[in-house]
Symmetry: C2
Subunit: 335 residues, 2 copies
Amino acid sequence: MAENRVGQQTIVFRNPPRIISSFATVGPDEGKGPLAQYFNDILEDPMLGQKTAEKAELKMLESTIEQTLAQAKLKKEEIHYYISGDLLNQIISSSFSARTLGVPFIGIYGACSSYAEGLGLGSVLIDGSYADKVLVATTSHYQTAERQFRYPIELNIQRKTSNQVTVTGAGVSILANAGDGIKVTHATFGKVIDMGLKDVNDMGSAMAPAAVDTLVQHLQDTNRSVADYDLILTGDLASQGKKMFGLLAKEKGISLGNKHQDAGDLIFSPQQDVGAGASGCACAAVVTIGYVMKEMYQGRFRRVLLIATGALMNALTFQQGESIPGIGHAIVLEV
Amino acid sequence: MAENRVGQQTIVFRNPPRIISSFATVGPDEGKGPLAQYFNDILEDPMLGQKTAEKAELKMLESTIEQTLAQAKLKKEEIHYYISGDLLNQIISSSFSARTLGVPFIGIYGACSSYAEGLGLGSVLIDGSYADKVLVATTSHYQTAERQFRYPIELNIQRKTSNQVTVTGAGVSILANAGDGIKVTHATFGKVIDMGLKDVNDMGSAMAPAAVDTLVQHLQDTNRSVADYDLILTGDLASQGKKMFGLLAKEKGISLGNKHQDAGDLIFSPQQDVGAGASGCACAAVVTIGYVMKEMYQGRFRRVLLIATGALMNALTFQQGESIPGIGHAIVLEV
């Protein structure tokens, strides 16, 4: 049995990597929401002066990477690996930013679970002495996601109440084998779970079963209970999925009490007309980096379980009648 | 300095993971090429009786996974992680096969370099004692790739001589911390290199600079020369890119002699009217699993450097005037 595992599915980091620098950039709408005070940078122009939304997403990611490096007073040459994933076809934001950064690149795809998947893999590389410093990033943009997965925004399609709005934002963290910062102590990579749900206007409910599966497995593997965590943050289930998550957890005998919050449920206020809430790769990332980590430094949370969730369909699978597989990757953060 | 690294970019596996089982499935055309005898399974029907090409690609991958497990007499419950990536938007073949397999899933995207990226990450998980057994897979299909990146095949668009044909196939390997099999001794994850080439009808030339960058870095890091390898196999540069690879290597003072072969150049015969040769995620995978590993067991090659290459654009970046970034991930295989 591999010695850095517990139970069936969970990795234990014996020399927990430190998150030595993080930076969260969000768009103007996210900057008007209840978490505004927590973000490092709020864009005035979601297009960043670019001609296309894809170029805007890329520029936002690149500028967030630059600021994460600057904050840690690190040069890009000191970074051993760059791990990133995003929602765009063939993860072009990640790949194109890797071209600019010039650091060995490990491209990942976990849809909106990418930030947790990246933190998990980056922590493996650091803890296993394969790297000293790893930069983990993800990004999403309302306009690129809408036109790729749904409709061009120019059509002004009416939103359903169960729809989620893709977060415009980028979240970047640097993991290191030394230094001050929040520790990554465990990673539970999730299984792909599909309960047969097909409504692309309710992705939260489709992802909730995967998040619960990872939660149950994580608690069992680590022999912990909800009480051992100050916060369980799911990625982007939003109001519908959050409800489902609570119900399914209860069915498994897990009472979440007041410990559960969902990034997709936190980032916008109900007055912002965003349907069920937020989603997107950046959602879990900017809420973790902005809200959670800052509250950890303030002493409000000491140990947090992040379960970032992803819906693993594309625009074609829906047309071909496929249901929506979900995944949840969990990471334990500790001060 | 992380102890399991040499030089600037290369990982050394102190307890080299073993590839205990591998299986290569190819389509009918690949089964008529010069490497036919090496493949484990040659499909009679590239559609596998499915209604859509995407479902065919998925079924091909799932059946290859099943046969890789059966060959090793392993149950899926014995696999700790499933790592996979493919060319389809949001890597749906990988995600949907993960749903069937039910093993914790780490989705990756490296375009046609996915097999090497997966072997590298899988080896990190095994060598670092985070897992006992990891299943690494990739797939591509001529019909899904054509209609996603180029034109529906029904249009019968004429091929240019520098065009490459996407391999229909799936390659799956199981890495383990014990057992018999080829060893993975090093991994050099590559940087994204873009020399400004924009011709999507000549991807080989666009990827060659990244492959050379990884080759140069790998040799420097390990203090080795071409003479230390019996074979340097690039992923899918095909005839144009292979030429470019040789020229760029020469410029860096590296003479490849007769050591270099390219998977995209090997898989089809010139009589098969395939333009410059083959490409696709499956290309490097099935040639490595079929041809290279079997010849390693026969004693023809003892130490092989695989540099699987990927072109990191999508159908939109081309339309938006972007050039084609390339990447090359290197893995050392040894008997």
